[in-house]
Amino acid sequence: MKRGKFTVLQNKELAPATFRMVLAGDTEAITAPGQFVNIALTGKFLRRPISVCDWNEAQLTLIYKVVGQGTAQMSQMVPGTELDLLTGLGNGYDLEKSGDKPLLIGGGVGIPPLYALAKKLIAQGKSPRAILGFNRKEEQFLTAEFRALGIAVSLTTVDGSLGIKGFVTDAMPQTGYTYLYTCGPAPMLRAIDEKAVTSGQFSFEERMGCGFGACMGCTCQTKYGSKRICREGPVLEREEILW
């Protein structure tokens, strides 16, 4: 965990109300895909938690959706804007458990953290495949980047305007994958859990006070006691989750 100043390099609308922000700064504290940063915004008391979509030694990429005042403020930022970030927050996904053919399932703005995960898995010689779900064709983002990784990508849209009509679960195979990594809205996670045939890791969201384990604001119950989404999470093991 680190606090640092970051500079906006790029802030681009990828799909309606969905933006990619590239930031330059010290990324040393980021150790695993699925971790998040917590962003201080002028005039807002609490920071905004956003998953790391991708990073290297000097830059990190976020993809966020405008849902309220804070993300609206972010969407207006021009290159050169300085931001105060806490980085390296949360546990992130555990790559060791993936097996050979892990399945990555993301819905909407749950997709971004799976991108860095896919890259790392490939680098480790694994053959991940991905199912990415959107509401409709116009809302798609990051699909080309996923395909450019050379992996199999299935798309679903609720209205059928792109890929398979329906939810991500409608594209889930009955078998053929070794492990599951997923991130997205809570009802999606739950539906996936019902259909899943392997073990896996699920990434959760919760309203946060601090984002680094100090306030007990984000605690949830698991089979193995209470866990802080910001610290022992956001990624939980399928086996421990109390739905």
Binding site: F45, L46, R47, G213, C215, M216, G217, Q221, S226
Partner: protein, 308 residues
């Protein structure tokens, strides 16, 4: 060199800045951010007799200049706190520790405080009679002078260490509550805990917090906290730990001029993990600019001006 040391009922603090209960965990986790031995003292997470999970999520909501929390006293229970958390804190921290105790009955207060008092690692017992999140108990103790008096007396009987009563701001007359503590034998007062508030989610048309209401803290409440410290200082002869919205060295001095001997910093730690360290670092420079040599001299200073 200016002097920043203060004393709370015999407990010496290098400076008046204490992270507030519930916003600093059991302390050791902040050792990852900075050397926490720079702190005046630490007030640990509120502890109860039994372990508590606390309230369901969401527990946090944002407000203008502050936040609501409905954590609901999540803690591992006094026995584990004494056996595990305090020793773990002591490994990285050698300065004073305030044990913050909550209870749902007189009996629970007495048991917990006695155990906290017996720990070699605690220096001061801070009795929270004010948590607004717990339905049966918490709130009512802190809003009725008779009950506050009873808790104070009972706890004082089992504690050798100084006992500070932490009061709720959700009352018509904070002075009468403070006076009840004084009469009950309290060594000092901590004020304020959070103001009861709420937010509603417009899309869901439902309260944001699962618990419906929560405790408001952060800069928004600073003027209310300052006023209560001021009023209590006028009426009661006990040292006061002032808190509520403190974010800067300026706020520390304002709170001390109103009558606080030391201060606690709460919500500020959550948005800036370095908040306490930064406040402590900037205190001497600010004191010099304001011509304050000895921080003790300004305690209640704004009352003396009034009388000139």
């Amino acid at each position: 060199m200016v002097k920043t040391a203060v004393t709370l009922s015999g407990v010496l603090l290098d400076n008046p800045v204490i992270p507030a209960s519930g916003t600093f965990g059991f302390g050791y986790e902040f050792a990852q951010w900075y050397d926490i031995n720079c702190l005046g003292a630490i007030s640990i997470k509120g502890t109860t007799r039994e372990p508590r999970f606390g309230n369901p999520a969401p527990r946090i909501a944002e407000t203008a200049g502050g936040m609501l929390n409905a954590v609901g006293l999540q803690n591992p229970g006094i026995d584990r706190v004494v056996a595990e958390e305090l020793p773990k804190l002591r490994e990285v921290y050698q300065k004073p520790i305030l044990a913050n105790i909550s209870g749902f009955s007189l009996d629970e207060y007495v048991t917990c405080c006695a155990k906290a008092d017996a720990s070699p690692y605690t220096d001061l017992i801070e009795v929270n009679v004010s948590c607004p999140n717990v339905h049966h108990g918490g709130m009512s103790f802190g809003t009725d002078p008779h009950m506050v008096y009873d808790v104070t007396r009972a706890v004082k009987e089992v504690c050798r260490k100084p006992v500070y009563m932490k009061l709720s701001p959700n009352v018509t007359d904070i002075v009468s509550i403070a006076q009840a503590c004084e009469k009950g034998g309290a060594d000092g007062l901590s004020l304020i805990n959070t103001l009861m508030g709420m937010r509603i989610d417009l899309k869901k048309r439902a309260p944001v917090l699962a618990n419906t209401t929560g405790g408001l803290s952060g800069p928004a409440v600073f003027p209310v906290a300052l006023r209560m410290v001021w009023q209590v200082y006028e009426a009661v002869h006990l040292p006061i730990i002032g808190m509520g919205g403190i974010q800067s060295a300026e706020d520390v001095l304002e709170m001390m001029l109103a009558g606080a001997t030391a201060v606690q910093v709460g919500a500020a730690n959550l948005v800036n993990p370095f908040a306490c360290q930064e406040i402590i670092d900037s205190l001497p420079g600010l004191m010099e600019r304001l011509g304050i040599q000895e921080i003790n001299e300004i305690i209640g200073g704004a009352h003396r001006w009034e009388k000139m």
